[in-house]
Each structure stands twice: as C-alpha cells, then as structure tokens.
C-alpha cells in the first residue's frame, strides 16, 4: 500500500478546487467546480441531472466540513482536505453513501445520450472542468477504454473515480483519471 501515492492524488484533487492556488478551499470552490461541469454540458443546476450533481457536491462538502473543519470557519487547507478525505471516504465508510452518488451523477452527465457509454468528446468536457490539459485527456481516455472500443462505460468511469480518490494501489487504471501523476 502506498499512502504516498494516495496523498499525491488527494493533493491533485485539492488543486481541482483551489484554482487560485492559495492553499485553501471553501464551499464556493467545490460548487465552482460543479458549475464548470454543468456549463460544459449545457446543463442547468435546476434540471434533474444538474440538481443531482449539485446536491452530490453539496453532500461531499458537508461531510468534509463536518469531518475536519473543527473551527467552523468554512475553510479547508490541503492538509485538512487530505485528512478528511481519508477518514471519511478511504478509511471510513461514507464513500458509497456520499461520494459515489456524486460520481454517478457526474458520469451520468457525461453519458449525454443515455446509452451507458461515454465518448471522448464528453470525456474531454468533464476533464476540461477539472483543468486537465487537453494533451493528457486523450491518453487518459485510451487507458480507461481498456477494450479499445472507443467508449468508456459509465460503470467503468465510476469505478475509476473510486480508485482515484480511495485506492493506494499503484496498478489501478483509475490513477490515470486526471492524467499522468
């Protein structure tokens, strides 16, 4: 088990929200990430798919804030984020109840035609919202598309998400979710 690898991934995840790089995030930062995703897919936060995602992100923030923001200032540092993600979703049992619904909502948004598969264009929209460089997106997609049929299933995308945020195994494909580490 490599906690170094997992911490490295959690630091990357923190960077997806800390867009000004000041070393702290607030609720608005996580919701800002949600807004980038929704706008990328042209989805209103009030639609069924949009509200699922917004609600999912809200629940993640609530869980993290309750877990670690003991002084109640609404600000989470990178160290606190790492600790909170680990205690709630890696060592704790709240991935399935809190994180997975958001991951499923996100994968569902990517599956624009509802056929259970995500194509490279939809995958790029999602990756752009997280700030993944365009040149990394294609390589990432090819890794996730294990059978080379040109699409990634929604189930595979959710599993890759789980692996990225919770797995310390250096060999899982989900480590590549947001490009090379």
């Amino acid at each position: 088990m490599s906690t170094t690898l997992l911490n490295h991934k959690l630091d990357r995840a923190f960077g997806h929200m800390d867009v000004d790089g000041d070393g702290s995030i607030e609720r608005e930062d996580l919701l800002g990430l949600g807004a980038r995703i929704l706008v990328g897919f042209g989805e209103a936060p009030t639609s069924h798919a949009g509200s699922r995602l917004a609600q999912g992100f809200e629940e993640i923030w609530r869980t993290l804030a309750a877990e670690i923001d003991t002084d109640g200032d609404g600000v989470i540092s990178s160290e606190e984020f790492r600790a909170g993600m680990t205690s709630a979703f890696v060592e704790g049992d709240r991935f399935d109840t809190v994180f997975a619904p958001a991951a499923e909502a996100l994968a569902g948004l990517c599956d624009t035609d509802g056929d259970g598969a995500v194509g490279p264009d939809e995958f790029w929209i999602m990756m752009a919202a997280f700030g993944t460089p365009r040149e990394d997106v294609r390589a990432t997609f090819e890794r996730l598309d294990g059978d080379g049929d040109g699409v990634v299933s929604v189930g595979e995308l959710v599993e890759a998400t789980r692996q990225f945020y919770t797995s310390a195994d250096p060999d899982v494909v989900g480590n590549w979710l947001f490009g090379p580490l």
């Binding site: 608005e28 807004a35 936060p45 009030t46 919202a129």
Partner: protein, 293 residues
C-alpha cells in the same frame, strides 16, 4: 428526443403545468436558498427604509436564482430585483435613473434614491465596460417600455430581452463579486447565452399568462394555437440556451484566459442557466398567476 421533449401533455392542462411537463429542465422542483427567510426580512427592511414597496416574491426569485450562493450575494440580488419590480410599474422613472447612473444627483423619488444606493454599492467595484453594458441595458428597457412600437433610426432590432430588462443579467456579476472577461462577454456565444436566457424567461411569462396577454413578445396567432406556439418557442430556445452554454469552456480555453477567469465566467453562465427556471417559479408565486400553479 431532445432534453426538452418529455412528452406533449393534453391541451386541457393549464399552461404552467404543460410547460413543466413538456420541459424536462423545468420539471424538477426549483431549490431555494436555505436562508431565504433572512434574505426576505433583510430585503423588506431595506425596501421600507428606501421608500419602496417590499416584494417578498422578488427576494424569493433571488433565492432561487442564487440557491447555492452565499447569503450576501442573494441579498444583493434581492435588493436589485425589488427595485426592478417597482420600476416595472413606473418605467418613466428610467429617465432620471439613467441620469443618476451617469453621475447625476438623485431626486426625491424613492426609485431614484434607492437606485443611487445600489449603484454606489456595486458600480465602483466593476470596470468601465461593465458600467457601459449595464446602463445600455437600462436605456434599452426605457426605449422598449416607453415607446414599444418604434425604434430609433439605425437601431438594431429590438429584442424581447430589452423590455424584460437586459441589465438583470449584467447584475449577476456584481452580486457574485466577479467580472466576466471582455473576450467572453463580447463573444457571439456569450451574447447568445444572455439573449436566450432572457428570452426564455420572457416567453415563460407569455406562456404562463396564456391567451390575451400582451407582453414583450407579440403573438399573431389564434388563442388556440398561441399557447402551444409559445410553449414550443420556450422548448426551442431552451435547446439554444444549452448549446450556447456548452460553447463557453472552449471559448475560455481558446482565449487562454486562465482557470480563475474561466471559473468566474462559468459561475455567471451557470446563473444564466438557472434564471429561466427561477423566473418561472417566481411567476407562479406572484399573486397574478398563483391560481395557475
């Protein structure tokens, strides 16, 4: 099937219900800010102090448009919407209001004095380009409301959004404390986003009001066909709204604006995606249309 095509309900269903059934994006409950009661109370206090009629529905519209934003942003928007609501009843006040926006002293009228306070609170934080956009929207509304049948020589075609109040969309930026970069708001896609979001809201009002309503969009149809035509119009424009929104991330990337500027633009765009739904909910909450809900 597009995202707007849920199914076509029978004509006997009232227009608001048919809109919601027809449009998947309008069918979900519209969330409201968790501190909406605090926002309503604070906005009513501000309205009374300013000599304006308190308008709880305006505060709720702000609470729906900014359902997940911080309370201060919702309160700022609620004050502006309360002012807008009063202005729509007395559009002739737009002339002195424009003079205040140009640096003049407000007169004694509550609408002018309230505008002066709101303007002083938000305009200094924004750039010249934003102030020009905002005042151009006020001027367009004055022209659309006070001389609806004519356009000045050489003027562009008047849009339904002019009568609706284009500046409502410009207000999203100071209320959220951000400013959309010029290459974005000058783009065709962004202008389409504003135009279509405003037009969908205006069309929702037409559709909810039903036959006989004469609003920003002229309808030369028989009553029986007009309702369906209006609802079709909303559905078509919603598709255009989503298409315009989808172009924004690529636009930000193409102009190499950076992640922070991109985030600010998408927060505003996300509000534009929300406003039509929030506005429909507001229409159904106002006493005028409550019997239709």
């Amino acid at each position: 099937m597009t995202r707007t095509e849920v199914h076509r309900p029978p004509h006997a269903v009232p227009p608001p219900a048919r809109l919601a059934e027809r449009l998947a994006a309008l069918a979900m409950p519209c969330p409201v800010h968790p501190s909406i009661h605090l926002v309503e109370a604070a906005t009513s206090d501000w309205a009374r102090t300013s000599g304006l009629d308190p308008d709880p529905a305006a505060a709720r519209l702000a609470g729906r448009a900014f359902a997940r934003c911080e309370t201060g942003a919702v309160t700022r928007l609620a004050r502006w919407l309360t002012w807008m609501s009063c202005l729509r009843r007395t559009p002739e006040a737009l002339t002195p209001v424009l003079a205040v926006a140009a640096g003049g002293e407000p007169g004694r009228a509550p609408l002018e004095r309230a505008f002066s306070g709101l303007w002083t609170a938000c305009a200094p934080e924004m750039g010249d380009a934003w102030r020009e956009r905002f005042t151009a929207g006020l001027a367009a509304q004055r022209e659309a409301l006070l001389s609806p049948g004519t356009t000045s020589a050489g003027d562009r075609t008047r849009s339904p959004v002019d009568a609706f109040g284009r500046y409502l969309f410009d207000l999203v930026e100071p209320c959220l404390g951000v400013e959309v970069p010029a290459p974005v708001w000058r783009s065709t896609h962004w202008r389409a986003l504003v135009e279509v979001s405003g037009e969908v809201a205006a069309r929702c009002e037409e559709a909810v009001a039903g036959p006989g309503h004469t609003g920003a969009i002229s309808v030369e149809r028989s009553n029986s066909g007009a309702e369906e035509w209006k609802i079709d119009g909303v559905a078509t424009r919603m598709e255009e709204l989503w298409t315009a929104a989808r172009a924004i991330p690529a636009l930000v990337e193409r102009h190499d604006l950076g992640f922070t500027a991109g985030r600010e633009a998408t927060r505003v765009a996300c509000a534009f995606l929300t406003i039509p739904r929030a506005y429909l909910e507001w229409l159904l909450e106002t006493p005028r249309y409550r019997h239709l809900a």
